[in-house]
Amino acid sequence: MFKKAFEKLKAGLSKTRKNFLGKLGDLIRGHTTIDDDLMEEIEELLISADVGVHATMTIIDRLQNRIKIDKIKDPSLVEGLLKAEIAALMGEGSYELDLSAVKPYVIMVVGVNGVGKTTTIGKIAARLKQEGKHVILAAGDTFRAAAIDQLEIWADRAGAQIVRSQPEADPAAVAFDAVDAALARNADVVLIDTAGRLHTKVNLMKELEKIKRVVQKRLPAAPHEILLVLDATTGQNAIQQAKLFNQVVDISGLVLTKLDGTAKGGIVIAIKDELNIPVKLIGVGEQVEDIQDFDPHDFVEALFA
């Protein structure tokens, strides 16, 4: 969906790239042989990027396997191998959202508090609007103070329509109304904002389930996409988040936000490895244009920048 953004992605990611080869290159240049020391330093690099102990071990095991099988002696080859392993783990191919098949295409956005759900919706809406789509936002966060106004400001920025209710109203009803409006107005896309919730709060998670169920009453195949937003600064807890949200509503993809900071978001590797949920979009800032398609190779480059 966001092909045009491809160039910007590279520009965006290279902003944080300190030099051409990055940390991994520097690290490898410091070694003349492939030994335990080198592996330990690679381990440190991966763990420091929030990849997590388990996924780090998996990656290093695979790397060592390759080195053994291919009888590799030259440390300068390690960088390429390592990057290839991780990119393969993240999955090749395109994760673009395919909006052409159905109308309205319903996207529900979920996640814990403060990760960037509302902002992401604003950005997606703006991009789709630019592509000439008719977009409706559903103000499904009826809980947090001023959340509806926040979405309204984004709707204005994006030039999208918004379906809203009073604070504390039933979010499922708002979502239902938005889908209903989309059908009546022949809109292309509905984006449903939801309140931030910790994955451990059973009742709040049930509420998400209900939103989904109620939307399906109006449009059985919806939501066509349920995106879980993860903050790149999040550590190992992101795995729990992915697991529990996935249990409740079947996550179709991740949005990794705040990659404009220094956080690498390595936890998505562990999530892909363990739960096979792909990253679809990344957030690289607070402005309307700061959203991009996920590209595994660029991600890996940035991981070691």
Binding site: D50, G114, A145, A146, W154, N203, G235, G261, T262, E286
Partner: protein, 445 residues
Amino acid sequence: MFEDLSNKLESVFKQLRGQGKLTEKNIKDGLRDVRRALLESDVNYKVAKDFIKRVEERAVGEEVLRSLKPGEYVVRYVHEELINLLGGKFQDIQVAPQPPTIVMVCGLQGSGKTTLCGKFARYFRKKGKHPFLIAGDIYRPAAIHQLQVIGKQLDIPVFSIEGEKDAVTICRKGLAEAKRLGHDFVIIDTAGRLQIDEAMMAEVERIKHEIQPTEIVFVADAMIGQEAVNVAKAFHDRLAFDSVALTKMDGDARGGAALSIRAVTGKPIKYIGVGEKMDALEPFNPEGMASRILGMGDVLALIDKVQSEVDLEKAKKMEEKILKQTFTLEDFLEQLQEIRKLGPLDQLLKMVPGADKMMKGASMDERELSRVEAIIRSMTPQERRHPRIIKGSRRKRIAKGSGTTVREVNRLLEDFRQMQKMMKKMGAMQRKGKALGKMMNMKIR
């Protein structure tokens, strides 16, 4: 695979404890697991490494070999070191000698600053202060409105200037207004910012210079990973903040970042956020946290709480009933009311080692409790005492009477059966916990 650090260390230490004599090798093995557990809890790689090194040096030293139970010695030492690293005793926000006290809150986007400001306002009003909020986030859409809504909810004034493009001006004028109105506790909400955003960091620095806050609080999300170190360090280099608040502690994040932030900045964690509601704020308790990390739970705190709020006579009777398994739904209702006096249930359960895990199946949440209460209230005394007689038509009647559904009634009856089982375990655990608490207390202090 990813259990709590507590559970993880618990099992590691059980192993260490079990070994009558420690060799250098099994200390190293044990500590490798500790290191892994720390990393899985998001303790920074280097911080974890240093920590393990220190423990190891001490553990393989002479003292250990001379001590009667080396395993326990190591456990105790790890615990002590964690408390040290977390900063010893609780320290409160500083009060300005000349009012008003000015608290400035800063941190990354989405860390929970605005909510924390509201919580501080409410908390310090309870302590006799007259709080005043200043809305300094002019960037995020509706951020000012968010603080206004919170202020209205709490009935605490919020200062903002419509359309003002300079946060420093807002803060300066807000402070003047607070002084004019005689408020002695000013809380400034600032916009979230990345530590590498030069313009934004310069802005918050200017606010600091203009306002001269009594205390700058750095807010970090308990879920933050390895980045905690870079972020905290950058904010500290720039602002020399005075303390840290950890938010979203009501989740299941293991909060290893607490160790990291403390290690790189040396500044104490003072408060923790434990929920979205305005009363969900607690003083940080280093010893409790260290114990919690080590899987001993905050048993002491729980005992304190129980003793101060629960009718002990009643509690004793209950315990007997639980043990004898003559516990009925009527008792359950009574118990529920006692428990609710103690505070949010999920918080309470966190203090009991293992309880969190045990409760995972059973949904325990405040709103749910109200429904449960309603259901039980719609039963006849006989039904409460003998839930087994509650069949189809009775279930329907109860559902109707309590404004719930038959499904919910069914679930409650099922949960009650589960609960009976669990309470039996909890009773046993609490007794064990008490003993353990005493033991730890004796040996450490």
